[in-house]
């Protein structure tokens, strides 16, 4: 079902907002992650780990799910489709991958935050931080963003068949009005 222009714009605004917000939240997460690893202040380190858990569960996870959902609506509700263009397929696959890894990783972050709250000053430095997942995640999100802006050419075999079918269909009669 193709959305009306007004609904399409509304969905696009929501999709852009949550997708760019997801990137911003990951950048904030990384800043806290760096602080948790580098700070010499034990209180700061504990606060950073606690903030990582909060920002993860209450900002990044909702934004990721909203981005995935609105992206799905945008592709299915417009003529781009979900499986017609390679860039849409790759974007969707990467978004699913990033969301699944995020959901699998967040319980580890909660464990890390719990341990940091109870650890003494000497063992805080041995927690290792959490920079690998958000770092790779940010790269993936930037790739998705680039794909969505450049929209590189390339029809999938399914998209090509659909295009051929549409060309074979007789044109609609002129509007009587």
């Amino acid at each position: 079902m193709i959305m009306s222009p007004a609904l399409r714009k509304l969905t696009l605004i929501v999709h852009l907002t949550v997708s760019v917000g997801w990137i911003g939240a990951v950048v904030a997460y990384l800043a806290l992650g760096v602080s948790a690893v580098t700070s010499q202040d034990a209180q700061m380190v504990r606060a950073a780990y606690l903030a990582l858990e909060l920002i993860g569960w209450y900002a990044i996870v909702p934004l990721a799910l909203a981005s995935l959902l609105t992206g799905l609506v945008m592709s299915l509700g417009t003529r781009w489709g979900l499986f017609r263009h390679y860039w849409v397929v790759i974007s969707f696959a990467l978004t699913i991958l990033a969301t699944v890894v995020l959901l699998l990783h967040m319980p580890d972050v909660s464990v890390l935050a719990d341990v940091a709250q109870e650890a003494d000053e000497a063992s805080l430095g041995g927690l290792g931080g959490d920079l690998f997942h958000p770092g790779v995640g940010l790269l993936v999100l930037l790739v998705i963003q680039a794909l969505n802006v450049y929209k590189p050419r390339g029809l999938t075999p399914y998209g090509w068949r659909k295009q051929q079918e549409q060309r074979r269909e007789p044109p609609l009669p002129p509007d009587p009005g």
Binding site: D108, L127, G154, W160, Q166
Partner: protein, 78 residues
């Protein structure tokens, strides 16, 4: 390279092949995956996953719950 409308491509009668940008990206991704696999296979990145916070990993005494601090202990003295 880019397009703003979905239906402005592939006017040929033959089905299109995989675009060049996708082939190059695929090669880059495969190389990166192999690199990560090598890093994990040889344990270059250290211990990974929730077990790294498990028993004996975070307490100097090695007890399962670590040394639980009281509220006073958590408060830093100026």
């Amino acid at each position: 390279m880019s397009q703003t409308q979905p239906d402005r491509e592939s006017k040929t009668s033959a089905p299109p092949g995989i675009p060049r940008w996708l082939k190059i990206s695929g090669i880059i991704v495969i190389v990166l995956i192999l690199l990560v696999a090598i890093i994990f296979a040889f344990d270059i990145g250290g211990q990974h996953g929730p077990d790294q916070f498990g028993p004996g990993q975070h307490g100097p005494s090695g007890d399962a719950g670590g040394e639980t601090l009281s509220r006073e202990d958590n408060t830093q003295q100026p």
